[in-house]
């Protein structure tokens, strides 16, 4: 049997869960144990994707999954290459410090490819073009997690803002609201960089409105996040209009929906009062425009006017404008409308806004399955679901890969693509990957960059991880993050400054 020499684009949770399942499925007792090599490439110098650069700092438990990733990385068949950006066309916004590796150079060294590059672009709102005071939630997430792409960008001027409008009602909008409303004295024990805490301490934000175009039953946030929102120590929620909480006759609520409704009806732990920051959950509202500041008139802290169209729900649960409108004075608008994959990733489907894949296997634009090319995680499914769904998907992808490579051992029942064609074959396949590959070869560009100290491996990451925790301990917090410059200096590589 030919070996699996797999290149993975992306080193987020999906990538690690696929790798971990492959490694565990071919243990030392397996005849195929030594026929597996996995090289994981990420354009960021640190691994773990959104677990490091996404998950909110006040959710430290979620990051415990990295212990499993560390275990996978201790298997010698897995290697991590950080700071390597796999490109098909020159990128619009290159990540500072990362090495560009054309896809063509990559695939000549590998028999298998997994696209696990996530959904890294925020979905924008047509009526709300980005500006200094109208930003995506992702850009705030990047700021408070110190994502490598924001290192030289100025922090948000929170001292200027009194009222923030968040558009969209998913977990990311609640993460951002929590970060803005939680007292810095509570956040400072977590993995929040000192530079971020400084900005949060200066914040003048008193009011946050979270606006969604549909009703409470359609909101995407999970009960856990909503409950946290209701229990914020220094904030209260303005009770929701009862008509918005009425359940249409004949609607059968899911378990999650009925718990969400109960929570919204009960309201926040702190009852609205003078001393609290307040939070408004606005339902059935769609932004239609943001009017720029009217010079320094009336209210300098609330310079913008956000126009909102009021909606009602159609029988199909679509948001339909009622014709009524209203306005909201605000200082800053944050759009939290989901994420999509980058159009430059290979086998990107513009109508799906992520990779075109059927049952884990990548399909080209003419509908042919690409031999030995797979996709997983947000790159394959779009930006939905939490880690448990990402994990379950990843295990399915690993199982498909094993079934395709070692059918006598791992044949899968009910594999739609296989059973559709005679004799369990996949029909016409397009081939791009190498037929055979030296198990340990690595593209020359990567070796060259490694020699200059610009590519990280998992041991580098382990050292930095420990050092970040050590620096955090000194400050009485979970960890103090390093950026690439700090990390380079710590690793004793050239070009660092500390």
């Amino acid at each position: 049997m030919p070996p699996i020499k797999l290149a993975i684009i992306g080193a987020g949770p999906s990538s690690f869960y696929v790798a971990s399942r492959l490694l565990a499925s071919l243990p030392p007792s397996s005849p195929h144990h030594s026929a597996l090599r996995i090289h994981m490439y990420d354009r960021l110098w640190a691994p773990h994707g959104l677990v490091r650069y996404g998950v909110a700092p006040d959710h430290p438990e979620v990051k415990n999954c990295t212990h499993k990733f560390d275990d996978a990385a201790s298997d010698l068949r897995l290697q991590f290459f950080g700071n390597v950006n796999i490109i098909t066309t020159p990128p619009i916004a290159p990540v500072p410090g990362s090495v560009m590796l054309p896809l063509k150079s990559l695939i000549s060294h590998y028999t298998h490819l997994l696209l696990s590059s996530g959904c890294t672009l925020p979905t924008l709102h047509p009526a709300l073009p980005p500006s200094d005071d109208c930003v995506s939630a992702l850009s705030l997430v990047h700021w408070y997690t110190q994502h490598p792409s924001v290192v030289h960008k100025p922090p948000p001027p929170l001292e200027k803002y009194k009222h923030v409008s968040i558009i969209g009602q998913g977990n990311v909008s609640l993460d951002v609201a929590r970060m803005l409303l939680t007292p810095p004295s509570t956040l400072e024990k977590y993995d929040v960089p000192e530079s971020v805490l400084e900005v949060l301490r200066r914040s003048s934000i008193k009011h946050v409105s979270i606006l969604g175009r549909r009703g409470p039953l359609q909101a995407a946030f999970t009960t856990k996040e909503l409950r946290e929102m209701m229990n914020l120590e220094d904030s209260s929620m303005v009770p929701i209009d009862h008509t918005h909480l009425a359940i249409p006759e004949g609607t059968k609520l899911t378990r999650q929906q009925s718990r969400t409704m109960q929570l919204l009806q009960k309201g926040s732990k702190n009852k609205p009062g003078l001393d609290f920051q307040d939070l408004v959950v606005g339902l059935l509202r769609s932004p239609t425009g943001l009017a720029p500041p009217l010079s320094s008139l009336a209210s300098p802290s609330l310079p913008y006017t956000l126009s909102l169209a009021h909606n009602e729900l159609s029988p199909e649960m679509r948001a339909i404008p009622t014709g009524e409108t209203s306005t909201l004075r605000t200082s800053m608008v944050v759009t939290a409308l989901g994420h999509q994959a980058e159009p430059t990733i290979p086998w990107y489907d513009p109508s799906l806004r992520h990779v075109r894949a059927v049952g884990s296997r990548v399909v080209n634009e003419t509908g042919h399955t690409m031999k030995n090319v797979y996709a997983s995680g947000w790159a394959a499914m779009g930006a939905r679901g939490v880690l448990v769904s990402t994990m379950i998907d990843a295990y399915g992808v690993a199982d498909t890969m094993l079934a395709d490579s070692f059918p006598e051992q791992f044949y899968k029942e009910g594999d739609a693509l296989r059973s559709a064609t005679d004799g369990g074959s996949l029909g016409d396949l397009s081939e791009v990957m190498a037929k055979e590959a030296d198990l340990d070869s690595v593209p020359e560009e990567v070796l060259d960059a490694k020699a200059t100290g610009n590519v990280t491996d998992y041991n580098d990451w382990r050292m930095i991880d420990q050092e970040e925790v050590r620096r955090g301990e000194k400050l009485g917090k979970e960890r103090e993050r390093m950026n690439w410059e700090d990390a380079k200096a710590f690793l004793g590589r050239m070009g660092g400054s500390l």
Binding site: H59, P60, E61, V62, N64, C65, H67, K68, K189, Y190, T222, T223, K224, R227, R255, Q256, R259, V386, L387, V388, S389, M391, I392, D393, Y395, G396, D399, T400, A403, P407, E408, F410, Y411, K412, E413, G414, D415, S419, G424, E473, G476, K477, E478
Partner: protein
């Protein structure tokens, strides 16, 4: 100096890392412990094990190399440790707390007797309980060989 909250995060993670590497719970002398049967998603018995009062199902699974995930290591933040209990045992347990219910909302293949393994602690009454692991992937392998007809 660590603040108490950080200290508890760290203690928890140290404690739970140890759980993954075994040794967090002690096995009772054979024949003296509380019996627990683990089954796979098809209802086949994986293993019957013995454990002590107070041990949780996730730690017991890890102690005995049973493939139950625990991504957040028992912090009620992931739902990957979802197990399905036999109805009698389920009824003997206290109702899940809000935080457990919040995570169960997101579990795959939720049933009326689903619980988070990390939150179920054994008592003598639960002797003979069955914990079934839900299917870990969308499709499951057919055990062993490719079926001959289909």
């Amino acid at each position: 100096m660590l603040s108490p909250a950080v200290d508890s995060i760290r203690r928890r993670s140290i404690h739970l890392t140890a759980a993954c590497q075994h040794g967090d719970i002690t096995r009772p002398a054979p024949g003296t412990g509380i019996k627990l049967h683990f089954k796979d998603s098809k209802g086949n018995l994986i293993k019957t094990v013995e454990a002590n009062e107070g041990d949780d199902v996730l730690s017991i699974a890890h102690e005995h190399d049973i493939d139950l995930e625990g991504a957040c290591e028992g912090s009620v933040a992931c739902s990957t440790c979802h197990v399905i209990l036999d109805p009698n045992s389920y009824d003997l347990l206290p109702e899940p707390e809000d935080d457990e219910n919040d995570m169960l909302d997101m579990a795959f293949g939720l049933t009326d007797t689903s619980r988070l393994g990390c939150q179920v602690q054994l008592t003598r009454e639960l002797d003979g309980m069955t914990a079934t692991l839900p299917s870990a992937t969308r499709n499951m392998f057919v055990d062993g060989k490719k079926p001959t007809h289909h």
